[in-house]
Symmetry: C2
Subunit: 288 residues, 2 copies
Amino acid sequence: MPDIAYVNGAYIPIAEARVSILDRGFLFADGVYEVAAVIDGRLIDNEAHLSRLARSLRELRIENSPSMTHIAEVEAELVARNGLSEGLVYLQITRGAASDRDFGFPQDTAPTLVAFTQRKNIIASIAADTGVNVITVPDLRWARRDIKSVALLAQVLAKQAALEAGCQEAWMVDRDSFVTEGSSSTAFILTKTDVLVTRANSAEILPGCTRKVVQTLAAREGLMVEERSFSVDEAYDAKEAFLTSASNLILPVISIDGRAIGSGKPGEKSGLLRTLYIEWATNAAQSS
Amino acid sequence: MPDIAYVNGAYIPIAEARVSILDRGFLFADGVYEVAAVIDGRLIDNEAHLSRLARSLRELRIENSPSMTHIAEVEAELVARNGLSEGLVYLQITRGAASDRDFGFPQDTAPTLVAFTQRKNIIASIAADTGVNVITVPDLRWARRDIKSVALLAQVLAKQAALEAGCQEAWMVDRDSFVTEGSSSTAFILTKTDVLVTRANSAEILPGCTRKVVQTLAAREGLMVEERSFSVDEAYDAKEAFLTSASNLILPVISIDGRAIGSGKPGEKSGLLRTLYIEWATNAAQSS
């Protein structure tokens, strides 16, 4: 059975799923996206993702999008049609395909909605057992990183730099040597005094959905949770470090720029928070 | 006759011209583009455009692109098939459609080449007669603006802000209040002492093809040509201002943020340079 994708109302094999070359997502990166995890055939934390999607659309003033209720139905339908038990649902909305190429917003153009699924082991993850290695790179992105837009070229280059350095993720660093976030994840450190630190939300980072749940779970566990910028040097010196994302949940970071973090093995609190997140996600999935 | 576009080897009506939803141009803005003017059925300054395209591809390490010779043939074929006398040829190359979505560069994926034409009056331009109004906006773009990538979302928002302010272009301004460039054009001012000023090329602006020719023509005419940053205040106070782009050649700027530039009418040197550029382009087109 071929994987089925969704394009503007139609469910079709992904190999045949196409958009116009005049689509503004293709010509201008004029679109937004979300990725949600699927566990046991159910979407995890999807309300948070759809709420962030709605915010991204508002910020870019992409109007007449299908409703969030309809989008959730499309996502559920894709999970069902693809028999997806564990993996991801990707969805993208662009400002649509105008009749001609012009920078300004087109009139009377309906947004494009595209979605597809990806199979992926999310709970049983080798990276969660071994931990991941991170490099730091300058953050080259634009000034509105709070919008989850498809203008992802800087993130592509950051991730590729990580892969070529034998790492799994790149942490992007601002002009003042503070970590902003990963190329496709949120960056956390646990200080030697057991304070869990991640950057405060602003236009400089994406407000992570998984980040937020992890902060709540950590606080519930009695950990001090702080939102503030941390430098690369502070990260090198951390007791633990980890990253969060919808597609990886929580992954321990065992080295940054070749320097071992803590013992150089996945940290205890990172592992605990991953376990708690999976528990939370599984319960949430079952009750949804 | 429908407009004919080109997609990966095929000439097809533009209404049927599509790319995969997995194309990295659509998912990641992982692609580059060029726009060249057509006058009398001939491409203007196309060697400069293709050389900049080749540089953009190198900077992003998009490999196995069709050769520049082949791309020039595709452009000429599109001009012929569309019977295009005056207008634009748009072309875009992306890192291609991988079998799955992943930030890192895919292996063994061929780049996507897309091209189409647009009809447009370039020489007989109302905007050239009346001049255009410009607003200034913060430059929100990423740090590698020298690459002509399709990650154009900041430019889209800048242009839309201009249109909503009743203007035709937005000049983007850096943190130090210096103008970088227009959302889809290069920014020039002529000082009260008749010095033609435009920002020096760097990672902060796109190296304009039309910009370069205009600088040469201005110098040939005996004008002092300076490459340096200029502030918004200096622009307000300029004797003349104009913008350059492949699609508009040279357009006089008659106001910035509602302040009249010079007499508030198209400047003399702006008009002269436009005439010289058209002369140059027409000769170049005829001799090519």
